[in-house]
């Protein structure tokens, strides 16, 4: 090596056959980077990439090495600031980066080689795009002279990911690497966040260059707004003050923009009812009396009824998607004034025509709105609350508590109790996800980490790895099902290597439960391919990976098993709960139906 990069020497390799020594925490970025900018220092493109990641404060990268990304892995070995976590499949790297980002608000980073490595990132990138999660994906690419020749492990990953990234770029000059990385992090984390992919050809990473890290990033074509329009905010305040049946509806934007404290002030000051979307859970206290629960396809009766019958609706950081308001024509049957606050203008009036659009950063807009709101009171809404309490009286989440088989809802209630409502909960996709959303009452944002928009089975376990690495020592549980868990099961091995003490809550009903439920309702009980035959013995499987497992098949054993498990702070424990095969998620709005056309458990 001829470069002047200080080298700390390679980290000692872990002894073969034994797990790596547990690293207590992600190394925090302690020193200021100003003193050692390495400006004008000659180095390779790969070293420049790792230096850039250090400059930006990246603490952890999830990935797998391979042919074209190999040069980038070499300097990673020497980095004392960037820790690499070796996953077992690139999909795991992407979801782990997403989980890390959702739990921290920082940018999650994943890395893969060209071709299959890069295409394996496609699902998690699409997932992060749908849920607006700040993720940067760095992929190797074939060397420039080989691009376009159908070379080994060549895939046009910028072309492939164009519709599922906020932005992507192919770096064709080693000198451009620091700017490309700085811009990628800037784009991923500002405005409406999202995934950004940086594709770097192998010969660019091996090329000699000088390291210049940009002092600042500015792009003439990208200037997300912060402040909302004053006139519009005034109009919104007027509507809120005149409302007789007001409703606050908030989504993932509250979590992403760290607006939960301001939202709380709005709710408390107005006394209005509030509902959260699936992505917005934790944005407002799940136990507060003004909280009506989640809304939407499997939302509560009271939240959906209030959405339909309110006269003024204020939507904040939410996007009126099909799983939330059902059929937009049905939703539009009841006249109401709609205020919509969002950082992304294209989210406004996309599915539902809005009366008062406010484009801006939510905390900034709420500041201005609260300032104006302070001056005069709002109307008496006692009659509206009386109506809501009547709806709430339906107790739409009730289930059979005397059941002899384990009810999945019961497991989640107990999980909530045992963890004191204070755990990080990741989930996969399906019935268990909906029950977790309904029965775990989140008090804080960034505690509920799930795949909302894309609905990606296999998300839960790798996401929990990202959450655990970001929060060493925290209680992290992955709520999953026997079908979802098998879609990224290989990551149990990563959990062993890095000693990630995730608690896996497997609700095992031997069916792809949500598919089975739809087949029951809409396909005349014809259960095509939803039964999971030949399931593994999950206890033995967990043990095979070096963890512990426990099978629970009696309701009386649920709580003791959970209590015992959460005492084991340092171990991954796989809890295989054998649950009622026929249980359905209620309420349910059938696809294409209106928000009040709910099927309730009591109707059946």
């Amino acid at each position: 090596m001829t470069t002047a990069t200080p080298r700390s020497g390679p980290k000692p390799a872990p002894p073969p056959g034994r797990p790596a020594p547990a690293q207590a925490a992600v190394t925090p970025r302690v020193e200021s980077v100003a003193g050692d900018r390495y400006d004008n220092v000659p180095m390779t493109g790969a070293q420049s990439l790792v230096r850039s990641l250090e400059e930006i404060g990246c603490e952890v990268v999830f990935g797998i090495p391979g042919g074209t990304i190999l040069p980038a892995y070499d300097p990673l070995l020497d980095s004392t600031r960037v820790r690499h976590v070796l996953v077992r499949h690139e999909q795991g790297a992407g979801h782990a980066a997403t989980g890390y980002a959702q739990a921290t608000g920082k940018v999650g980073v994943c890395m893969a080689t060209s071709g299959p490595g890069a295409t394996n990132l496609v699902t998690p990138i699409a997932d992060a795009h749908m849920d607006s999660i700040p993720v940067v994906a760095i992929t190797g690419q074939q060397s420039r002279p080989l691009i376009g020749t159908d070379a080994f492990q060549e895939a046009d990953i910028t072309g492939i990911t164009m519709p599922i990234t906020k932005h992507n770029t192919l770096v064709t000059d080693a000198a451009e690497i620091p700017r490309a990385i700085a811009e990628a992090f800037h784009l991923a984390s500002t405005g409406r966040p999202g995934p950004v992919l940086v594709d770097i050809p192998k010969d660019v990473t091996t090329h000699k260059t000088e390291f210049h890290y940009p002092d600042s990033v500015s792009m003439r074509s990208y200037n997300p707004v912060k402040k909302g329009h004053a006139g519009q905010i005034k109009k919104a305040v007027q509507l809120l003050q005149d409302a007789e049946r007001p409703m606050i509806y908030t989504g993932g934007g509250i979590v992403l923009s760290n607006a939960a404290p301001k939202l709380k002030e709005l709710v408390k000051r107005t006394g209005f009812p509030i509902t959260n979307t699936l992505m917005g859970l934790g944005g407002y206290s799940g136990t507060d009396a003004q909280f009506l629960g989640m809304l939407g396809m499997h939302g509560t009766y009271e939240a959906n009824m209030a959405m339909q019958h309110c006269d003024v609706l204020i939507a904040i950081g939410a996007r009126f998607d099909d799983r939330v308001i059902g059929n937009p024509a049905h939703f539009a049957q009841n006249p109401r004034k709609i205020i919509h606050i969002d950082i992304d203008p294209s989210s406004i009036s996309k599915r539902v025509k809005v009366d008062v659009p406010i484009v801006g950063n939510i905390p900034d807009v709420l500041d201005d709105l609260l300032l104006l709101l302070g001056k005069s009171g709002s109307k008496d809404i006692k009659a509206w609350w009386k109506q809501i309490e009547e709806w709430r009286g339906k107790d739409c989440l009730k289930y059979d508590r005397a059941s002899k088989v384990i009810k999945p809802q019961f497991v989640l209630e107990k999980l909530y109790e045992v963890t004191g409502g204070d755990a990080f909960i990741t989930s996969d996709v399906g019935q268990h996800q909906m029950w977790a959303a309904q029965f775990y009452k989140f008090e804080q944002p960034r505690r509920w980490i799930n795949s909302g928009g894309l609905g990606t089975m296999g998300f839960g376990l790798p996401a929990a790895m990202g959450v655990t690495l970001a929060n060493p020592g925290a209680t992290v549980a992955c709520v999953t099902g026997e079908s979802s868990i098998q879609m990224c099961l290989q990551e149990l091995s990563t959990c062993k290597q890095y000693r990630l003490p995730i608690k896996i809550i497997n609700l095992n009903n031997k069916y792809m439960g949500m598919v089975r439920q739809w087949q029951e309702f809409f396909h005349g009980n014809r259960y095509a391919e939803s039964y999971m035959d030949a399931l593994p013995d999950f206890v033995k499987l967990a043990e095979g990976y070096g963890h512990s497992g426990l099978l629970i098949d009696k309701p009386a054993d649920v709580e003791p098993a959970l209590r015992e498990t959460f005492k084991r702070k340092n171990d991954l424990v796989f809890l295989d709960f054998i649950t009622d095969q026929a249980e359905n998620v209620y309420p349910m709005i059938p696809g294409g139906k209106g928000i009040t056309e709910m099927i309730l458990s009591e109707d059946l």
């Binding site: 910028t158 072309g159 164009m162 519709p163 906020k166 932005h167 992507n168 770029t169 192919l170 784009l187 792009m219 003439r220 074509s221 990208y222 992304d344 203008p345 294209s346 406004i348 009036s349 996309k350 025509k353």
Partner: protein, 163 residues
Amino acid sequence: MRHIISILVENEAGALSRISNMFSARGYNIESLTVAPTEDASMSRLTVVTKGSDEVIEKITKQLNKLVEVVKVVDLSEAEHMERELMLIKVRAGAKEREDVKRMADIFRGRVIDVSDNTYTIELTGDGAKLDAFIQALDQSAILETVRTGACGIGRGNRILRV
């Protein structure tokens, strides 16, 4: 309704693809699309002709603005503007037809830019309707080949699109 949208975009690899991709991914229609660099080498200007209700056009404009490489978007049809399209059309022009074809080209202020024993190639600019009218005016069986650029447009007077 028909709209003509002008877009200033960073002159970067993939920008055109990203824009056309957005149209197809979201089910918006592209009637024509032209693109070329501007006097500022760092930027290209695209002109897209599309159809849709006011709501759809609003969505298209917002989605275009959301793309990171897009610098500016203007719906030219919102106000006074001009559009032009270039067509090259090759028609059969043997001894019998030569004079008729030339006369028709003159009426439409077209120029014959290539001549062979039995063909004329005519260059014609104008708005789309004029080009359509010229095609209609010709003997249909005489048309051998046509190529059109699609519309480009510019605002009238002081209506200027630049950064």
